[in-house]
Amino acid sequence: MRRVATLLLLCTFAQPGLGADAGVLVETMKQARLSEGFEARMEAATVAANGRRATPFKLSVVGQIGAERQRLRIRGISPDKVRGRYVAAERNTDGHIRSIQYGEAASGSVEKSDPAARLFDSGLVLWDMFGAWWNWPQQSIEGSDRVDGRACTLVRSHTDDGASPVREVLSCVDRDAKLSLRTQLYDRRHALLRTIAVKQTIRKESGALAAKKLSITEADRTATEVEVYSGDEHYLVNADTFAALDSSK
């Protein structure tokens, strides 16, 4: 019976370009991201390549990650330059990410925005938050590595979609924690766009690990340190949380 189950599992993931082991790992990562509602508040501090420090800012991320639809809403908390600024985005089954930005006032204008753009002049990018590469068909295991002394499996994700701002992603996944300890994103010319590294983790109520501190290093050596200081794994998404996104269709 167990052999049959294993065979079925192998058949399930025997897609072109998707090794069985890679398939299992990618599926695990996709499952680990699923959430009916979560909220995280974080502080981000960016240091430019020339050493100039930008004023740190706080933002809140509310999300719903389902198999069919994924939605995120980012709200600037402080200081004034980000306060009341919203960015919302959704990723549909076709993989397309649509994003908008708007202000606090309900009557304020809603504008289309680029999901691949830097958020609030930091290394944070909305596109990265969706982890879109886990849904790409081409996934392969490239061996193993260590990040800050922790063993991880290298997974290469690749897409031929010309519209995608990122063509290849190399993730180093801690299989037990179901967490990518280091994620390197490359463009179509295989130039490194940015590296996202987990610096500190926190155990969630479910027992799984989540990133508490992250560093995002961009191609020009601009570095953004992100620290999640509050979170809610069972966030109740209100009807109006994504109202702007829904009404802008």
């Binding site: 909220e39 502080e43 509310v62 402080s78 109520e205 809610d232 069972h234 109740l236």
Partner: protein, 375 residues
């Protein structure tokens, strides 16, 4: 000359080595005293905060082990809890540790249900309490006011929203003195957790007995899956930070004990080797082997006793000093219990006996004829 004086003179004869050994032991003991008192203080402070509020039972999520348990929707469980026998009040509490000033470390911000019994134990020093749920004001602890340089009427920005300081209060618990308190509704709004609380505080009537408390605990376990009713002491015991700090202090006791014993062992062994001829003379003069053992063990006990006493004073100074550091203010409230300090002194003596016993036996076994031949 009595044996004690003799042992003391032997230690005086090698002042550098004696001082180094005493220093090593005192540092180890100081680490034990400082870490343990901080760990106990942390636990006591949380316990004191919960006890001072007059809470009899706390209802929280089973998996909650963080400083503040994970938030949950209060109305999921409040009606069932209110219906339990002897339950007078069920009051929600939401808390987070937040940065409210660039110049000060993060502070605890509490959201308490307006008009609930939770506010009653606080002593208002200046100003007033929030008038209602909708008022965007807060009350700050006296220590927080000092740390944040705030007084009544000043503004404090929390999570992008500006609150006016309505009052400054004093609490018997350090954790509350260093905190900011607003109404639960305001806290839920700024943290984007509408309707959620970290814990539900239950106040029982005066007729409730220990058996009633146990019955309520059992009923919560049976009827509210995923939730647990515990006393404030039990909640503090579950706290991950308390557990980690206790584990750290236990590890320090073990390491310091081991290192201390080895230091004494080494010192006494070297001393015996250097004094072989002297011990031979003592034995030749008619000293009993038992007396030689007493002398050597006595010397090592004097060393560890001195190290222990200095270490205790040093540990108290370190723990008290840390509490005055800007980064630690309002977070450390070291507790020094006299029985513990005597136990540490006892540990020092035990280390002296352990570390000195083998060298003492070795010295006592010397043959006077052989010992006197040694240069």
């Amino acid at each position: 000359m009595n044996l004690f004086r003799f042992a003391l003179d032997n230690l005086y004869r090698r002042p550098a080595r004696t001082a180094l050994t005493v220093s090593a032991i005192s540092l180890g003991i100081a680490a034990v005293v400082a870490l343990t008192s901080i760990a106990w203080g942390f636990e006591a402070s949380w316990q004191k905060a919960n006890d001072a509020r007059g809470t009899d039972l706390i209802v929280t999520r089973i998996a909650s082990e963080n400083t503040m348990p994970s938030p949950f929707v209060a109305e999921q469980v409040r009606p069932a809890l209110s219906a339990l026998p002897h339950v007078q009040q069920v009051v929600g509490l939401l808390s987070e540790m937040l940065t409210v000033s660039e110049d000060a470390p993060p502070v605890f911000v509490f959201g308490w249900a307006h008009g609930s019994y939770l506010w009653e134990h606080l002593k208002l020093k200046d100003g007033r309490w929030p008038a209602d749920d909708g008022e965007t004001v807060l009350a700050i602890g006296s220590l927080a006011a000092e740390m944040l340089h705030k007084q009544v009427g000043d503004d404090i920005e929390i999570e992008g929203r500006v609150f006016k300081v309505a009052g400054i209060f004093e609490s018997s618990a350090l954790v509350e003195n260093g905190a900011l308190i607003m109404t639960l509704t305001q806290m839920q709004q700024i943290t984007d957790k509408p309707g959620k609380v970290n814990i539900l505080n239950i106040k029982l009537d005066n007729q409730a007995t220990d058996a009633d408390i146990d019955a309520i605990k059992a009923q919560v376990r049976q009827t509210l899956p995923g939730f647990i009713a515990i006393t404030s002491g039990e909640l503090v015991q579950k706290n991950a930070v308390v557990r980690i700090s206790k584990a750290m202090s236990n590890a320090t006791i073990l390491i310091a004990g081991l290192v201390g014993a080895l230091v004494v062992f080494n010192t006494m062994l070297m001393s015996i080797n250097e004094r072989t001829r002297e011990i031979g003379i003592l034995l030749a003069l008619g000293w009993q082997r038992r007396t030689v053992i007493k002398l050597i063990v006595g010397e090592s006990v004097i060393l560890t006793l001195a190290g222990g006493a200095i270490g205790i004073l040093l540990g108290i100074a370190i723990a008290s000093g840390l509490g005055h550091l800007e980064l630690m203010r309002g977070k450390i409230d070291a507790v020094f219990s006299l029985p513990f300090l005597f136990a540490v002194l006892g540990l020092s003596v035990f280390l002296g006996i352990c570390g000195g016993l083998y060298p003492a036996i070795k010295a006592a076994r010397l043959q006077p004829s052989q010992a006197l031949r040694q240069e």
